[in-house]
């Protein structure tokens, strides 16, 4: 079976994410865009994942629970988990590693924690804009040790990508690499390449995606597809 996947999206929790990007809106819009497997990956926090999990359930979409972590080298890495509680625990760990700086919402945007209905249930005070005190390699290792998927984000972007910040791809084990444009014009060390929307506003939901060939429409199916290199792109 072929599944349409989009593993990179933000909600109103990310300071740069639109306040209209409610987890439920993301799930419903993605469902309309034909996405079968969808991840929410806010910057350095997992606090909107519970609402996202509920929304995916209702929308009949396979939810993947993630974060986009900023490493100490300011490289963005997608950390994706099968189970909500693993993602929540990892999110707590990453938030702890962030510098103790308060968010200034007028400058960086609000960091809204919402429920399924989009009601604001809290606002995160610690700034999610900073870099977690963990190196790129250590983060990858930590995510893999927790049975997650570790995917360096937008490796072909001129900022906050592994190539821009570290010059070239360190030779460690990755689950896959995410690129904005395919094919990528760099050494990928034999890793699967994926594309994701990196949506911060509603209009961008589903703007980039890819397909996986897999028996199962779930996290394990996704994992298998990345290992077996059955990712394809729209033609």
């Amino acid at each position: 079976m072929r599944w349409r996947i989009d593993l990179h999206n933000h909600s109103c929790l990310s300071p740069c994410g639109s306040n209209l990007m409610l987890p439920a809106v993301l799930a419903i819009e993605a469902m309309d865009a034909g996405i079968d497997i969808l991840a929410l990956t806010d910057h350095n926090s997992s606090r909107n994942l519970p609402a996202f999990a509920e929304a995916c359930e209702i929308a009949g979409i396979s939810g993947v629970f993630g974060l986009e972590v900023t490493t100490m080298e300011e490289v963005h890495v997608l950390a994706l988990f099968e189970h909500l509680h693993d993602a929540m625990e990892f999110g707590e760990f990453i938030e702890f590693l962030l510098p103790d700086i308060r968010n200034v919402r007028e400058l960086f945007g609000e960091q809204l924690i919402v429920d399924l209905a989009g009601e604001v249930v809290g606002e995160l005070e610690k700034s999610l804009y900073g870099a977690a005190d963990i190196s790129f390699e250590n983060l990858i290792e930590e995510v893999l040790a927790r049975d997650g998927l570790a995917i360096p984000a937008h490796i072909d972007r001129p900022s906050n990508g592994v190539l821009s910040n570290l010059g070239f791809l360190p030779e460690v084990r990755y689950s896959a690499l995410e690129a904005i444009r395919v094919p990528v014009m760099c050494e990928t060390l034999g890793n699967s390449i994926i594309q994701g929307s990196d949506a911060h506003v509603i209009e961008h939901i589903g703007r980039r995606f890819c397909f996986i060939e897999s028996e199962r429409r779930d996290f394990q199916g996704l994992k298998d597809a990345l290992v077996n290199h059955t990712v394809t792109f729209r033609t």
Partner: protein, 111 residues
């Protein structure tokens, strides 16, 4: 100026100095290694906070004999090992990149 003399004049902490007589003729300040790869002149000391082993690979590729790590950033073990192997010095300081750049430029007679 040799790496050793530069380190002494700056009074920065030496983490690795496998080749003290290597000659430094210029400097380059950047934290993005893709930028360093594209623009740093040969024979430069790299002034950065990027304490990662890729910094060593990039310095080696470009013929940069030394790296100054600013803001007390640490050099992980694998970075220090790579530096030893590639003959590249690592100096460490609490100075910012701004201050370190000025001091290096002054010592090299470039300001």
């Amino acid at each position: 100026m040799t790496v050793q003399n530069l380190g002494k004049a700056l009074e920065y902490k030496t983490l690795v100095m496998p080749n003290p007589d290597a000659d430094i003729i210029n400097g380059y300040t950047s934290d993005l290694l893709s930028d360093v790869m594209g623009n740093a002149p040969e024979g430069s000391v790299l002034i950065t906070i990027q304490g990662h082993k890729n910094s060593i690979a990039v310095a080696s590729l470009l013929g940069m004999p030394a790296i100054i790590l600013c803001n007390n950033r640490s050099a992980p073990d694998d970075m220090q090992l790579a530096a030893q192997k590639e003959g590249i010095a690592i100096l460490s300081t609490g100075d910012t990149q701004f201050t370190a750049s000025y001091r290096v430029a002054h010592l090299l007679g470039r300001v």
